[in-house]
Symmetry: C2
Subunit: 295 residues, 2 copies
């Protein structure tokens, strides 16, 4: 099992408090020290739209030379891709939103235009030697459109596959999915793209995130996103928790017999530290408080 640590990007982007670049670099280093290797480090977006990620180049400059790191930068268009290449990212990830409602609100263009943006980015990224992934956002439900039928998600995946990325990620952006949906979608995507690596991204907004993560693995997903400390409240649900927490996911995985190479105690300590840096009363993650078992 591989874990992609997304606290520096998806976690911090959804927190109110903006952390100094040095603290973000510390987070990256602590994650590497704990055995994580693949990190979503930042997003190359417009600083006026996403102020939390305004230091993308500065952060990459501080961490890019660490030989342990495989860095992922999120990009939305060609301009973002050029910045990610210049900043030294190892991979880029492109978001395609499965629902029109969130696609339009999030990026100002519909799903079809986002698929086209991927097709424009793909050859350039590949030519620059970068790994690629496409995140299919709102695959399990949309805050504006409501239900997103599986057929719709699979159509979007098919559109993406006209120029297949190294990896496709199914994302439950607002934390509404349940394991039955996970199994159906993963099975569907595997049938469409048997050779593409499958990744899944869950939020624990309604306490289904960990059940979904396990369902994804058991259906054939080999890469899971998680955020140390579980940081990253959801902008659509005030007070709700964010990404599934890396340390809690490790508890579920390791106790279930899956190996990850990561050290849960170091990650739990990082989660507690990060919550402090963000000014949170406590991290959404539970292992930092409850402790591992057996102790």
């Amino acid at each position: 099992m591989e874990i992609v640590e997304v606290a520096p990007r998806d976690g911090l982007q959804n927190e109110k408090k903006i952390l100094p670049t040095e603290v973000k670099a510390d987070l990256v280093r602590r994650s590497l020290d704990a055995g994580l290797r693949r990190l979503e480090v930042t997003a190359f977006a417009r600083p006026d739209r996403v102020p939390q990620m305004a230091d993308a180049e500065d952060l990459m400059a501080q961490v890019r030379d660490d030989p342990r790191l495989t860095s992922i930068g999120l990009v939305l268009n060609r301009r973002g891709l050029d910045r990610a290449i210049d900043a030294g990212c190892d991979e880029v990830t492109v978001v395609v939103v499965a629902s029109e409602g969130l696609a339009l609100r999030n990026q100002g263009v519909g799903t079809a235009a986002q698929i086209e943006a991927w097709h424009a980015i793909a050859p350039v990224a590949r030519a620059a030697g970068l790994g690629t992934s496409v995140v299919v956002a709102a695959s399990f439900g949309c805050p504006f459109d409501g239900e997103v039928p599986s057929e719709r998600v699979l159509e979007v995946v098919e559109g993406v596959l006209a120029d297949a990325p190294d990896e496709i990620a199914l994302a439950d952006t607002i934390g509404v999915g349940v394991p039955a949906q996970v199994r159906e979608l993963v099975t569907g995507v595997k049938a469409l793209a048997p050779d593409v690596r499958l990744r899944a991204h869950f939020h624990n907004t309604r306490n289904t995130g960990y059940a979904n993560a396990l369902a994804a693995i058991e259906s054939g997903v080999t890469v899971l996103d998680a955020s140390t400390g579980g940081v990253g409240g959801c902008p659509f649900a005030p007070g709700a928790t964010g990404n599934i927490a890396t340390e809690d996911l490790l508890y579920l995985l390791h106790r279930s017999g899956y190996a990850t190479g990561a050290d849960p105690a170091l990650i739990a300590a990082t989660g507690t530290w990060l919550a402090g840096e963000l000014g949170l009363a406590q991290a959404p993650a539970q292992i930092g408080r409850a402790g591992w078992f057996p102790a």
Copy 2:
């Protein structure tokens, strides 16, 4: 799927603040109004040991005549059983702790003596017309002994089955289990007792509770314990959440196609109200804050 609402007993017993009997009776009525029917109302224990349950008779007197209610009283011995019968409980539940360490600390006697206590209670309860269940506590791990092997749990179940209760509940008392354990234990108990109704009880202390609940259902369990609001911090893990929350479990179940007859919106409102009565900043349950999906 049947849900046993345990907030009045397991939830409140593990909270610091002791609620007035009227508020507890309100909680019972609100749960019934929301469509729940079977409730663990109270425990008949020594008031000096369990002050939160000192009003067991008073509470039962306030709720026992509601025709919608199937009331469960927790009893540890013959004296508790007599009190439960006099108080008008419909069912009694007896706890047998699978691990010696917690058995001794919790009840002052070992597992074997607790099985004998069940055998002494069983015929009397049955003769009085009460339904019976045995909760096998610490089935997934013990805060003192660490790992509890499945063989040990199944031996305890076999001991109990010498006089079979109407229902056996596997309880993850400290919230350490994972779905692989759930599947193994449920399958084992079903093989030993194919005709006994199976119930499961999970805490979300390490964020595995909902995944465990789903694994239990998918393995053949038909009754799940849950606590409105997710109240009931664990005494062995300060700051950790308690039972899985009724409203969040309903989200998982209803969205997965299981019917329960309960109204999630009413239960979420009760969870928010109960957290307020307990002086909590917020309920551990998430649906009350994040909202149902689709809205």
